[in-house]
Amino acid sequence: MSGIPLGKREDLHLEFKAAEALKDPEKIAREVVAMLNAEGGEVWVGLREEDGVAVAVEGIPEPELSRQSLRDFLVSTVEPSPFPGEIEIDLIPSPRGSILRLRAKPDSSRKPYALLRKSGRFFWIRIADRLRFMDREEIRKSFQGSKPSPDELRRAEEILKVELDALQREAGRDRSGIFWLRILPVPRFSLDLDALLKGNLLLDPQETGNRRTGKTFLQGGTPHLRSGRLVAGKSEAAALSIYRNDGIKLRLPLERFHAGHDPGAAKPLYWLPLMEIPVSVFRLLSTMLKVESCWEKPFAPDTLFVCSIALFGLEGWTLRPFSPQLSPLDGWMNYLLAEPRSSSDQDFILANPLLFTISEVRDHPDRCGFLLTSRVYEAFGFGLDQMPRELDQKAGRLILPE
């Protein structure tokens, strides 16, 4: 039992939860968020406390399953989405069964962390052995003043809302399936669209680290300037738009994600474009961030990217978990045996956009794309452990055969 803090008292860095807390993972998540916004620490699940002192070990039933669902819940509800190392969940064995230790290690450049719920973002902070909401001043300070102001964030969210409303109306009116991915910089940046047009980034996928044979943001057609944005695609319904100041938008017919040859379903979504297309967009942005000539004016080093994804007209569409390629036997069996699922909603809209920093997009574009895609899988009822495993977790790269 070495390491289990029996007899110790809760403090700024230590919190105990009984095993039954797993029935309401939000309670655990807010403890984690509060620690991330403070100095970090450990939350132990499966330790009963009396007056703030850990007094007994309560083994967790199905500990591995609990660990996985808790990890999925945290990945879905903590913003910014945790990178490996920020939140670690370990199974700690004891004679009374295994318990969970969650270790929160905040990255100060990513503060403040929030808990996302349907009703909005909640910023908790841990003070001594208690937690409370952060006040406006604490949030502002946490953004260090140089970070985008809440007003700028609100403006970005307003743009997303306007675009999403228009798309939802259009999809409902035309009964069409639409895929939409949006990345908005906060504060706004200044791209040199003419330079981008002259370069090869929008012509050759390899220039942005993508596969030539892959499913990428490239949609054919000649890139051209239109109303202050660079458009690559043959029509508005299937095009990548790069705005001078307002980021990137990719809009595609949902048909583009059709698996094409799945006898088991009428409208099967194909895992490959779902994984690769969002990643390809972030790889494009990552490349742009590294190439000075893309910029009219240097971007602010603390720029945040507000990112959202939506799939309209999902009625009749299904999605299978996993992919058939991970290993010759396991991958295929998992893929073939898993039942495709339908979305519970007609439209999937990521209600709370994800926020990524410059360094996240520049250095880990694949992770950013993967996190957006994970929300789509979630909408079909699949956890992270049921996603295609082509994203190498260690390297943080989507690895597909070339």
Binding site: N200, L203, D204, P205, Q206, R212, T213, K215, T216, L218, Q219, G220, G221, T222, P223, K234, A238, P253, E255, R256, H258, G260, H261, L272, Q325, L400, P401, E402
Partner: protein, 442 residues
């Protein structure tokens, strides 16, 4: 297994007329209806000999013919399929034995149709085929994977008795069709997969692999299944050093589109230049590489000049690439091989002649198509942007040659005509090369 049992097994429709062997292959090659029409024509008794490299779908095409005939009401027992390469065959089986093995219940009002796969494995097949056509035993479609089938007098025997039809890997249009859902229009598939031509370059036109996502595995299988077997098995009986022929084959694929320098290759392989030329001719017979002669108005001079040798399919370039497939030079070779594959088809349709043009060090045109409508110069560049100097050299070379039309197929997206040169993106060209040539609909 006795021949009778084998034939029952290969012709399951003899016992149940509803059985179809090609249900899993709903997409028909463009060639298929043409051959079906030939079978159904009462005024033409000639046989069809279908030639194509391994794994381009000849067997599937025969089985689809069988399905379509049965679906059209052809009496099941009047239809005989036989695969002479069936591993269960012990000893020799002649084509005569196959024809004489009549199933009970033939319908005398219909001709018999024989679909004979890998006919070269049948002893004296050419003699038999000649006699069978003369004796009007029925409609015959035979296949084989090597053009050398037609050497040594077979071609002479065949004159007026059978037609040779070449079947290569999938064209780009056929490749797209295989990606579509049943009944889906080509344009819809293209909207769904706008960069599908990149898949075509990477995978090539071997039908078995077109839906695969594991590209390295496809390349490995192309190397082992197609190339090794074609060379080691098909050429092993010819008394040549197959290992060195195989090495030459790899050289040719890695250098696809280059002139054959027999002397240099002979040095590399420790062989005589004459052997290298002979081996190269044998390799062309496997239909996995395709020679292209130099343009010359004097036919005799043309024969004396060096030929370029191309991989017959872009997938082969990728499979045997000495560099990572992402390398621009590898892609450029696959790009040219794809264009040449489509031009061969076009030249056959138009009964035209293909060559390349070279004068001095500077003036060169990758392909020259000569047919009734004149000469067309076709230059190929896999670059994303067309360089002005490339255009200018094409104009000069085309002027020297006196071509009627100049086409530049490129890797970008722009389509335009400027100063007498039509620049066309690869995808547009591959979709319908004929439409871009004189007399085409484009």
């Amino acid at each position: 297994m006795s021949l009778a049992d084998l034939m029952q097994d290969q012709n399951p429709w003899w016992r149940d007329g509803e059985i179809r062997r090609a249900r899993g292959y709903p997409v028909r090659r463009d060639l298929q209806p043409r051959i079906l029409r030939r079978i159904l024509r009462v005024d033409d008794r000639r046989a069809v000999v279908l030639l194509g490299p391994r794994q381009v779908g000849k067997t599937v095409l025969l089985l689809q013919l069988a399905d379509d005939l049965l679906a059209g009401g052809w009496p099941a027992r009047n239809l005989t399929y036989f695969d002479f390469s069936d591993d269960r065959i012990t000893g020799d089986v002649t084509a005569r034995e196959v024809v004489e093995a009549e199933p009970v219940g033939l319908n005398p009002d219909y001709l018999r149709v024989f679909l004979l796969d890998e006919i070269r494995s049948a002893p004296s097949w050419d003699l038999w085929l000649k006699q069978a056509v003369d004796a009007r035993v029925g409609r015959i479609v035979a296949t084989d994977s090597a053009a050398r089938l037609l050497r040594d007098g077979a071609r002479e025997s065949g004159q007026g008795r059978w037609d040779e039809i070449y079947m290569e890997g999938l064209t780009f249009r056929e490749f797209i069709q295989l990606h579509g859902r049943p009944g889906e229009e080509l344009e819809t598939v293209l909207r769904r997969a706008p960069n599908i031509h990149e898949r075509y370059l990477a995978l090539g036109g071997f039908p078995e692999y077109v839906l695969q996502e594991d590209f390295p595995e496809v390349r490995r299988r192309l190397r082992s299944d197609i190339a090794e077997r074609a060379i080691l098995r098909d050429l092993s009986g010819l008394g040549v050093d197959v290992e060195r022929v195989k090495d030459l084959f790899v050289y040719l694929l890695q250098d696809s589109g280059a002139e054959l320098n027999a002397e240099a290759r002979a040095r590399d392989l420790g062989a005589d230049p004459r052997s290298v030329r002979e081996w190269s001719r044998l390799l062309s017979d496997t239909l996995l590489v395709s020679p292209l002669e130099r343009f010359n108005r004097n036919a005799a001079a043309g024969l004396r000049s060096k030929s370029k040798i191309y991989a017959a399919d872009p997938g082969l370039v990728m499979a045997f690439a000495p560099l990572p497939v992402q390398d621009a030079s590898v892609r450029a070779k696959a790009f040219e091989a794809a264009v040449y594959r489509h031009l061969r088809e076009t030249a056959r349709e138009r009964e035209g002649r293909l060559s390349y043009f070279r004068q001095g060090e500077d003036l060169e045109i990758d392909f020259v198509l000569e047919d009734q409508s004149g000469l067309v110069a076709i230059e190929v560049t896999s670059g994303l942007r067309v360089r002005a100097d490339k255009l200018e050299r094409l104009r000069q070379a085309a002027k020297k040659l006196g071509t009627d039309r100049r086409l530049l197929v490129h890797g970008g997206v722009i389509e335009e005509t400027a100063e007498g040169v039509e620049t066309v993106p690869l995808q547009r060209f591959l979709l319908d090369p004929s439409a871009l040539l004189p007399g085409g609909a484009g």
